[in-house]
Every structure is written in C-alpha cells, then in structure tokens.
Symmetry: C2
Subunit: 340 residues, 2 copies
Amino acid sequence: MTTIHDLPTPALLFDADALDHNLSTMAAARPGDSLRPHVKAHKCTALAAAQQAEGHRHFTCATPREVVGMAMAGVGDSLLLANETLDAARLAAMAAVQDRVDVIVAVDSAGTVAGAAAAGIRSVLIDVNIGLPRCGCPPDEAGRLADVARHAGLDVRGVMGYEGHLMMVTDHADQRAKVAAAVDLLLAAHQLVGGAIISSGGTGTYRAHDRVTEVQAGSYALMDTQYAQHGHPFRQACHVLGTVISVAAADAPARFAVADVGLKALGMDHGNPSIDGARVWFCSDEHVTFAADAAPLPALGDRVRVTPAHIDPTVAMHEHAWIVRGDEVIDRWPIDLRGW
Amino acid sequence: MTTIHDLPTPALLFDADALDHNLSTMAAARPGDSLRPHVKAHKCTALAAAQQAEGHRHFTCATPREVVGMAMAGVGDSLLLANETLDAARLAAMAAVQDRVDVIVAVDSAGTVAGAAAAGIRSVLIDVNIGLPRCGCPPDEAGRLADVARHAGLDVRGVMGYEGHLMMVTDHADQRAKVAAAVDLLLAAHQLVGGAIISSGGTGTYRAHDRVTEVQAGSYALMDTQYAQHGHPFRQACHVLGTVISVAAADAPARFAVADVGLKALGMDHGNPSIDGARVWFCSDEHVTFAADAAPLPALGDRVRVTPAHIDPTVAMHEHAWIVRGDEVIDRWPIDLRGW
C-alpha cells in the first residue's frame, strides 16, 4: 500500500471522499446540464471526468488550452470558453476540435467576434457585463453585438455574465437580492440576443440562481478556505503535503518548524496558507515556517498537510495530484490543462 | 523579424539589455567565485549560462531538481543545494551527478546529515541560523554537527547562513550593522566547523558583505519591484506581456481595460502587479483589470507589459521566457528547472 509517507513533497493531494461528497452534493443541487462545471478550478481532465460521471456533460473553460485539452481527452459534450481571446492560432486550435465536441466561445466586442469568425469558430455566447468590471459588453449593446455575430456567420447560442463581485457577499438574503439584480441585467440582454443558453454564477452564488439555464461553478469540487467560511455544504478536498525538513531546537528562544511547501507550490493571492493546529508565520519560495499551537512541534521527517488560501492557482503550479483516502494514496491524476 | 506582437500571451519576457546590465554590474561588484548566483530566481539554465559567461562558476540551488537540471545542462562547476532535504530518491539523484560536477548539500540536523550520507552525497555545508526563523542549526551547535557529518564520512566544506530577514532593511548603515551582527554568528560557527566556504547573503544585502567567501544573490538578474525601491543599481528585466482582450465602452461609467495576464501567470505573494501609466484594480485567474492614469486606455489587441510584484514565483509559472530587445524577440529560453 502506498501512503502519503512515500510521496515526494511538495505534493498536491485531492481527498477522494471529500471530492466525492462535493461532486455529489452539487449534482443533487444542480443536476445535469443545469451545472456547467468550470475546469479552471482544477485543470484536470480526470477530475472533469468524475464530474461528467455525476451527470454534467457541459463544461466551462478559461483558456484555449483547457478547451483543446478537454476535447483531446474526450471529456464533455460541450465546451464553453468563458473568456475572450484574439489569438488567431488558439482560436483555430479550438475550431479544429469542433467536429468532436461542441465549442462555444465568449465574445464581447466586434473585435472578438471578428477573430472568432475568421478562425472558423461556429458558436458564440454574448458575454455581458453584469457588474464585475472585467470582460462583457454593456447589457443594452448585447443585441447589437449578436447581430454583428450573426452577420459574420456565427451561431449565437445565448448570453453569459459572471457576477464575480458577489461571490463573497456573506448575508444570504443580501446576496440573493444582489444576484437577482445582476441576473435582471443578463435576462434583459438575453431578450435582445435570444438563444437557448443563459449562463452565469459560481460556487459563491450557485444557490441564488433560479432564472439561468446553467451555473459555471468550479471551486466547489476542491473548495477554498474563503468559500468555506460562507456556510457552503462542501468540504476542503485539496491540500499540499509537505515534509518537515527543519525543527528549531527544544531550547531555542522561538519554537518553530519548517516544511518544504513554499510560495512556489501555493496560490498566495488570498494570503498565507494554514496548517491545522499550527500558526503559519511566513512562506518563502520553498518553505513554510510555522509554530505549533498547543500540541508539540512535529518531528523531522513528519508529513504535514498545508491548506492553500486559494485553490485554483495552487493546482496550476503542480504537475499532478495524488488522490488519497486518509493516508492511503489510491491514484495519481495529471494536471493536464495547465498553461495557455 | 519577430516582435512581441507575434507572441501568444501571457508571455514571460526577459529584457536582453537590462539583463546584460544587471549581470555585468553584479559581476563587477562581486566577480568570479565571490558570487554564487542563485538559480531559484530564474529556474533557467540558459540564464545561468549567461551568468557563467560573466565569470561565475559556482551556483546556488533551492531544489534537487535545480541541482540535477544544472548538472545535466553542464552549467557550473559547483552546485550548492542551499536547502535541506530528507528525500532519499532526490538525494540519490544529486549524488549521481557528482562525477560531472561538484555537489554540496546543506545540512542542519543529524537527520539531514544521515540522509545525505546514506544517499552517497560527498560534500555538505553546515547551515546556520543567523536570525531568519527558517532552516539552520544554532551557531553554537555547528561544530558538533560538523563532527557528526565528518563521522558519517562527509566532506564538510564550510558554513552557510541566510539573513533573509534583513533583505528589505532600507537604511544602508542600519542594514550594514545588522548584517555584520548576523555574519558574526556565521563566522563564530565557521570557527567551530572549518572549511573553505563561508556562504551568505542575497541581492538585498550583497553590498553589506565583506567577510564571507561568497554571496548567494539571485534576484539581481531579473530584479524585483520591491528591491528596485531600495536603490540597487539593477534594472527591471522581467515582465509578463499581455493582450488587451476587452475595453470598457467610451461612455461607460467606469473606464477600464482588461488584459490576459492573471494571477496564474503572476507571483502574487507581494501583491498586485503594476502597469506603467495605469492603475491595476485587481487580478483574476486569467485577467488583470486596469484603468489608465492620464493617457487614453489601450485599444483592443494592444500589448501591455505587466510588471510582477515578485519575480521568482512568476518565472516558475511559465514554460519559457522570450528574450526581447525593445519590441523585437531575439530568443526563447526554456524555464527548465521548474518543479521539485
């Protein structure tokens, strides 16, 4: 039996039971095509296949490489690039897989429409700004842009809009009201655009959506500590395993230990990671220095599970994930959708 | 001629002229073996070869993969793992390249000494804690640990100690005094240990060192915005190129643009990146949203140079770097020392 004690570290761990719980819980709440899982959260076709096994056939991607990688792996019947690109070579690469899978590309300007059409992309969604200052056209321009797209020969499949600014609103009633106002904008745009798809949302707001055709949640699969504070029914399923490589002497003025999980193995944009029963002092490129709370410090060679503050960028730093049940290692999944 | 307008984005850029300036400036200040350049800052054997061409033959590494990768590339006469590891397979991999290059491994405990000896490592440095709560034995235990190492058959080549907590001390006289106190600890340990090597320092403190045999600076090659504020004679040589993929309408209530350089392409532990002439609002996984200061917003498809707040982890997120002179692309270097 292989255990976590046999793994080279730092090692990305996916907890099989927590992952199963998360996937089945979401599939019960938003079954089948009412969820379009976002693969940017894990960049792993094996995990996407597990989501497909729960009944979801349509997937969301953030990069062309994610779209092409999913297509090559044969996972998903429909792949949405929920992002804009002007890269002719990457648009052509996505167009080249359209015979094996439905590919839909988001557009929010005449320029992105022209790029998609020139590359032979068949289907687009009109990306609408519903409050987050990022991509998306103004709602009242969506109809005009849909006309431009249709004139260019593109099949306009509907609209999408991402209310990322509302993911962390903690009061449920407040969040529901704000999401409703954002969805009002999206539905108004949809009135102008038409098409079967109204796509929105994420893990932070999936419970607040009852008027869209699909939700683009991704983080629910592995979960983030920040989402975990908001009362979601999902469990932390992702850690980075480290080895204790140095322990301060018992008579040292400050008692701390060091594990080999540094900021090159952790998404740091949400701050420092955490370790159960310990206080993290700081991260260096290849180290995390931490003190124990009440318990004694770990010993040299002990394994510690480090919980990243942000999962998406953490996963993208690793070549593969080890699937574990307790301390047993049961599989290894490549993080095969990395890069752009 | 290939220019930055031909590159897929996000694209890691190394500015050839700034890099040349940085390498020659440091080589003038600390020539030859008085500098042991740290490859963790760039993870690129081609850049290490450029440092070797400036006269530096000895290199510092943070991971076993960096050591083995440098050995396989044939760059450097001596490779120091300035870090502790208990990984028997990785220690063995480093031991396996000892016939082609001098390999020295840091140790700070009886456990790390035993691991190195068991794997057939020949040479070690005693890693001494000189004030940064991370790895390193107490200075007064260094002699005892050296005895343990020699008893295990290891060649003890000297001492190292990293005063990472002093890199950002802004007052030069204050920094010099604090570095002197840290080096006092290292020299006291060296008295107990012996050996030819006294290794310490980094880009933040290289000017404050006159009693060590070598300085382990790395960031000077590509430079960090944080170091740049401290009056160092080095230039920013690393950016991440992005393409503007969305621009808010001219009559929008808020005027902003979006480029495809997100937090999966940027080391974020020092905070948001910067863009000359613009204010960065926030980063998402694959986007940076920014407003223009006085100048007009860029147009769709324009290229923007994004300056990461921390270079080391940024470089580690990219598969290769494009070497540029102005807007011309003159070479591509693999970031071939990524991972562990």
